[in-house]
C-alpha cells in the first residue's frame, strides 16, 4: 500500500500540484435491529476505496474509486487534476492553504472488547431480551432494539510527507417502545432516541448501557404518555435533560460555529450562519455560565480521533468562554480568517467524499448544580427529556424542538407527565437565558451518528458532552393541531 501511495504523491509533485493528499479507507459495520421479537435486520457492510484531493493553481479537485489498484489510482489522480484545472477557471479569492508539519503516526481507539469478535448470537440475545421485556407491557405495540458496531481503518498521506494510519472503533445501541391508541402514537427510548447512544468504544460500551435494566420503565412511560396531558402553551422555565441538550448544542452551537458555513460554502444546501468572523472575541453567545469546548481528544467521544483528514492532530479548543464566542471550528484553508492555525476539524465520510469542517465533540462544560437542586430551585416550569423532533432555520437562529416526554415542575417538585412537548427559541437569546448547569456527576457524553452536511451529502459522527441545564422564559407548547 505504501508503494501505491508514494507513487501517487510523486506523480502529484511531478505534475505541479501545489498540494495533494490521498486517503485509503476501509469501513466495516455490523448492525442488528429487532422489532416485536423478530429480527428486522442483521447486516454486515464492507466498503473500501480511496480518494485523492489535489490543489492546483488555487483550485481543488477530488476524485475517488473503489478499485484500489495502481492503474486506477493513476487514472483517478489524472481525473482529480483535470477537475482542479477546470475549476481554476471559476475560482474565487486565492486559496490560503496553511502549511502543516509532516506527521508520521498511528492512532487506534482504545477498547476492551473488540465488537467484531463478539458472536452475532450474543449481540442478538442482548437485544431480544430487552425487546421481550418491553413487550410484556401489552399496550406497547412496537418494541425495538438496535446495536451497531463500526470499524474505520484509514491511511492519510500528503505531498508534505505526512503518513498517518488510524483505526477507529465505534459502538452504539438503544431501545424504544411505541404505544399506539387511536391516533395517538407515543415513543420512549433509552438511552437516547434514533437508535441510541454511540461512542468510540468497544463492545463494553453496549454492555454498560444495560438495555435490559431500563426496558420495563421505557415501556411503562410510553404507555403513560398516551393518557398524559398535552404540553401547555406558555412562556416558562425549561430544564432540559442532557440528551436533549446535546442536540440543542449540536444544532444551535455546533453548526453555526463551522467556519466554512460562516464563509458561505454551505449556502447551497444546509445554509450559512448568523455568526461572522468579526464576532470572535466579543459576541455574547450565552450567559456567563456557558462554556463550550470542541474536544476531539475526549476519550470515548463519538467525535474523537487521532488526526483529522488534513493531518492535523486532534485537540481541545475553547469555543465559548463565559458566554463569549472566542473561536470557531477551522481547517487549513479557513483558519487564516481568524489569524490562527487550523484546529483540526476536517473529516470526510469515507473514501468517496472530500473532508469538510465537522464538529468533533462539542461539549458544554459542567456547572455546579445537581438536577435535584435545579428542580427544587424552580418555582414553575417544565423538565423535558429525549429528543423527538428538531428543526432550525438556515442561519441557525430560529429553532424548534420536540421531546418524547416532559414533566411539569411546580413549587420545586416534579409533577404531572406531559405529552408532545415542544419548545422554540432564538439561539443567542436562548443561551443567554441559561442560569444553571448540572455538575460533573450529571455530565454525560452523547454520540450523534447522523450529522448531515455537504454535497454530495455526508454523515459525520460527532459527540456532545453535557449535563442538564436550565433556561428561563422559553416558549413551550408550540404544536397546533
Amino acid at each position: 500500500m505504501k508503494d501505491l501511495i508514494q507513487n501517487i504523491l510523486d506523480l502529484a509533485k511531478l505534475k505541479g500540484a501545489d498540494y495533494a493528499d490521498i486517503r485509503i479507507v476501509r469501513r466495516q459495520s455490523e448492525e442488528i435491529e429487532v422489532k416485536n421479537g423478530k429480527v428486522e435486520a442483521l447486516t454486515h457492510d464492507e466498503d473500501f476505496g480511496f480518494g485523492i484531493r489535489v490543489l492546483f493553481q488555487g483550485a481543488w479537485g477530488f476524485a475517488c474509486s473503489s478499485r484500489v489498484t495502481r492503474t486506477e489510482m493513476g487514472a483517478v489522480f489524472g481525473k482529480a487534476l483535470k477537475i482542479a484545472k477546470a475549476s481554476s477557471k471559476v475560482k474565487g479569492k486565492e486559496i490560503v492553504f496553511l502549511p502543516a508539519s509532516p506527521v508520521v503516526d498511528r492512532y487506534k481507539t482504545q477498547i476492551s472488547i473488540d465488537p467484531f469478535g463478539v458472536a452475532p448470537e450474543a449481540k442478538l440475545d442482548l437485544l431480544l431480551k430487552a425487546d421481550e421485556i418491553m413487550r410484556r407491557n401489552k399496550r406497547v405495540k412496537i418494541s425495538e432494539a438496535f446495536s451497531g458496531s463500526y470499524k474505520t481503518e484509514k491511511t492519510f498521506a500528503s505531498t508534505e510527507g505526512s503518513y498517518i494510519e488510524q483505526e477507529i472503533i465505534e459502538c452504539g445501541a438503544g431501545i424504544s417502545a411505541t404505544a399506539i391508541e387511536g391516533d395517538e402514537v407515543q415513543v420512549r427510548s433509552y438511552p437516547n432516541s434514533f437508535r441510541g447512544n454511540f461512542a468510540t468504544q468497544g463492545y463494553e460500551w453496549i454492555e454498560k448501557l444495560a438495555l435490559r435494566d431500563r426496558a420495563e420503565k421505557i415501556a411503562d412511560e410510553a404507555v403513560q404518555l398516551l393518557s398524559a396531558k398535552p404540553c401547555p402553551s406558555k412562556t416558562t422555565t425549561l430544564i432540559l435533560d442532557s440528551s436533549q441538550l446535546a442536540l440543542q448544542i449540536h444544532e444551535s452551537v455546533g453548526h453555526p460555529i463551522e467556519l466554512d458555513r460562516i464563509l458561505g460554502t454551505e449556502a447551497s444546501y444546509a445554509g450559512t450562519s448568523f455568526l461572522n468572523t468579526e464576532m470572535v472575541g466579543h459576541f455574547k453567545y450565552g450567559s456567563e455560565l456557558v462554556n463550550i469546548v470542541a474536544d476531539a481528544s475526549h476519550p470515548g467521544g463519538l467525535g474523537t480521533f487521532g488526526y483529522d483528514d488534513e493531518g492535523i492532530k486532534a485537540q481541545r479548543v475553547p469555543i465559548i468562554s463565559r458566554g463569549t464566542l472566542i473561536n470557531l471550528l477551522t481547517s487549513r484553508e479557513t483558519a487564516h480568517h481568524l489569524g490562527k492555525e487550523s484546529n483540526g476539524t476536517m473529516r470526510a465520510d469515507g473514501w468517496n467524499r472530500i473532508p469538510l469542517i465537522r464538529m468533533t465533540n462539542i461539549n458544554l462544560e459542567p456547572g455546579a448544580w445537581t438536577l435535584d437542586q435545579m428542580i427544587a430551585d424552580t418555582e414553575e416550569g417544565l423538565f423535558l427529556a429525549t429528543n423527538r423532533s428538531w428543526s432550525i432555520d438556515d442561519k441557525r437562529i430560529n429553532f424548534q424542538f420536540g421531546t418524547e416526554v416532559g414533566w411539569e415542575i411546580k413549587g420545586g417538585k416534579l409533577g404531572e407527565m406531559v405529552k408532545n412537548p415542544t419548545y422554540t427559541g432564538i439561539t443567542p437569546k436562548f443561551w443567554s437565558s441559561c442560569d444553571a448547569i448540572g455538575d460533573r456527576d450529571h455530565w454525560q457524553m452523547w454520540g450523534t451518528p447522523n450529522c448531515g452536511k455537504g454535497e454530495p451529502g455526508q454523515v459525520a459522527h460527532v459527540g456532545h458532552g453535557t449535563a442538564p441545564a436550565r433556561f428561563r422564559n422559553v416558549q413551550v407548547g408550540v404544536m397546533k393541531t
Partner: protein, 451 residues
C-alpha cells in the same frame, strides 16, 4: 458502466452458488460528478466511481444481508458465506413469505447518452454561464451541478433478472444580493433539457432590493410553490403512504381507507412508469412498479407494498421495495400530485392577505399520526395583499398538519414541475416528485426568524 450482460452475469453467479433457500443479489454502480459553487466561485468539484453488491439470503426464513463494494469473485464468495452464517444465528421469521418471482419489465429509456458530454470543462462552462447571468442582475450564486450514470441490476433465485441504466442531472441554484435570496432547481435524465437562462431568471426573480419586513405569526392564506408542495408530499410518503406504517398502526391512513381526508382537488399517486417523472421501471427487488393512488379526489385509497409487507396480507408487491434490509417500509419514491385548473397569476390574485412560499427548509415531524411537521420558509417568501405580491418578508416558521393543510386547498395550478431533493447521501439513486403549486386557506406560521 458495466452494461447489462456483465451485471447480470456477476449477480447470477453469486445467486447460483448460494446454498440458501432463496437468494437475492443487487448491483448498484455509480459514475458521478458534482461541482459545487458558493459566492459565485467553484469551491468543490468531485468525482466518484463505485459499485456495490447487496446480498440477501433466506435460509429457513432466517434472513441476513451483506453489502460489499469489493466485487472480485473471491470477495463476493466470502460475502455470501458471511451472509449465510449470519442468517443461521436467528430464529425464523414466520412473517416472511417469499422473495418475488419474475415479471416482464417494459423497455423504458432512462439513460441519455448526452450525459457523457459532461466533462469537467463542460460543466465549468455551464456554471460560468449561469453565474454570469446571475451577476448581471447584481447577485451572487451558490449551488451544485451534479451528473451521474447509475446502473441497477437485481437477480434472485426465483428467476428475477432485471437491469436498468440511468442517467441523471440535477442543478440547484441559490442567488443572493445583500438582503435577499432566491431559489430554483432542475432535474432530468437528459442534460440537454437544462435551460440555464430560465433557471437563473427564476432564482433571480425571487430576490428583491427591498428589506424584508417582519410579519406576525398566525394563520394565513398561502401559495406554496411546487418545491414546498414536494416536501409535504415526501413527508406523507414517509409517514403513512406505505403498508408497513399501516400494519404497525402508525399511519394516518390506519382505519381510514375510503374516508375523505383532504380536499377533493387533491389526488396523489406514485407511478414509476410515468414519463413525466424520473422513470424507474422496477424496484430494488426486481418487481415491476405499479401505479398506486393514495388520495383519490381527497379519499384515502391505497398504499404501497414490498414483498414482505405484501406477504403479510396475502397480497402482491406493488413494486416499492427499497434496498434490503428495508426497515423503513416500502416508501414511495415517484410521487405525483394531479394538476388543477388555475394559473399561478389567478392563484395570487385570489389571495386577500397571505404568504407566498417558494420552499421550505429543515422540515421535521412533530406528530406523525396527524402528519404535523415544522420547518422554515426560505429563499423567496413574500406578503400578498389584495391579490398582489407586495413585498418580501422575513422567513417564517410553520407548524402545521399536512392533512389539515391539504383539506384547506382552494386552488391547484395547472402547471406542474419535477422537484428533486437535490443532494445524495450514500448510494446515488436520484428520484423526483411531480407536483403543482397549491393555494391553502389557513396555514399556521408559528414563529419568525430573527434575521
Amino acid at each position: 458502466m458495466i452494461e447489462r450482460e456483465s451485471a447480470v452475469r456477476l449477480l447470477r453467479k453469486v445467486v447460483q452458488e448460494s446454498p440458501a433457500d432463496q437468494t437475492e443479489a443487487i448491483l448498484l454502480t455509480e459514475d458521478s460528478s458534482l461541482t459545487r459553487f458558493a459566492g459565485s466561485a467553484i469551491h468543490q468539484h468531485v468525482a466518484e466511481r463505485n459499485q456495490t453488491v447487496i446480498l440477501r439470503v433466506v435460509s429457513g426464513k432466517r434472513i441476513a444481508v451483506v453489502t460489499t463494494n469489493i466485487c472480485r469473485a473471491s470477495s463476493l464468495k466470502e460475502s455470501l458465506e458471511k451472509a449465510i452464517s449470519l442468517a443461521k444465528v436467528q430464529q425464523p421469521n414466520d412473517q416472511f413469505i417469499s422473495l418475488p418471482g419474475p415479471e416482464s419489465i417494459p423497455e423504458i429509456k432512462t439513460f441519455s447518452p448526452n450525459i457523457g458530454r459532461l466533462t469537467p470543462n463542460t460543466k465549468v462552462g455551464m456554471i460560468k454561464g449561469l453565474l454570469r447571468r446571475v451577476k448581471e442582475k447584481g447577485c451572487k450564486g451558490s449551488g451544485a451541478l451534479s451528473n451521474g450514470e447509475v446502473e441497477l441490476a437485481v437477480v434472485n433465485s426465483l428467476g428475477v433478472e432485471a437491469y436498468q441504466g440511468f442517467s441523471d442531472l440535477f442543478l440547484h441554484l441559490i442567488v443572493e444580493n445583500e438582503i435577499s435570496s432566491g431559489y430554483a432547481s432542475f432535474v432530468s435524465r437528459d442534460p440537454d433539457q437544462l435551460d440555464v437562462d430560465s433557471l437563473a431568471r427564476e432564482a433571480v426573480g425571487k430576490t428583491s432590493g427591498e428589506e424584508p419586513t417582519q410579519i406576525e405569526p398566525g394563520e394565513y392564506e398561502v401559495i406554496l410553490e411546487p418545491y414546498a408542495v414536494s416536501e409535504l408530499l415526501s413527508f406523507l410518503g414517509y409517514l403513512g403512504f406505505h403498508a408497513l406504517a399501516v400494519q404497525e398502526g402508525r399511519s394516518f391512513f390506519s382505519n381510514r381507507f375510503g374516508e375523505k381526508m383532504v380536499d377533493e382537488k387533491i389526488t396523489v399517486y406514485d407511478n414509476g412508469l410515468d414519463p413525466e417523472g424520473l422513470q424507474v421501471p422496477f424496484d430494488f427487488e426486481g418487481v415491476l412498479k405499479k401505479k398506486v393512488i393514495f388520495f383519490d379526489k381527497g379519499v384515502a385509497k391505497e398504499v404501497t407494498y414490498d414483498s414482505f409487507t405484501a406477504g403479510r396480507e396475502g397480497k402482491k408487491s406493488t413494486g416499492h421495495g427499497l434496498i434490503a434490509p428495508n426497515t423503513e417500509g416500502p416508501i414511495p419514491i415517484n410521487l405525483f400530485m394531479k394538476g388543477g385548473e388555475s394559473s399561478s397569476e389567478e392563484m395570487v390574485k385570489s389571495v386577500r392577505r397571505g404568504i407566498y412560499v417558494t420552499r421550505f427548509h429543515y422540515t421535521n415531524v412533530v406528530e406523525p399520526m396527524k402528519a404535523v411537521i415544522t420547518g422554515m420558509t426560505r429563499d423567496g417568501t413574500f406578503l400578498i395583499e389584495g391579490g398582489e405580491i407586495k413585498r418580501p418578508v422575513k422567513n417564517l416558521r410553520f407548524t402545521e398538519s399536512i392533512l389539515k393543510a391539504l383539506s384547506r386547498v382552494t386552488a391547484v395550478s395547472k402547471h406542474r414541475r419535477i422537484c428533486s431533493e437535490g443532494t445524495v447521501y450514500s448510494r446515488r439513486f436520484v428520484t423526483g416528485t411531480v407536483v403543482p403549486a397549491v393555494k391553502i386557506d389557513g396555514f399556521n406560521f408559528s414563529g419568525v426568524s430573527a434575521i
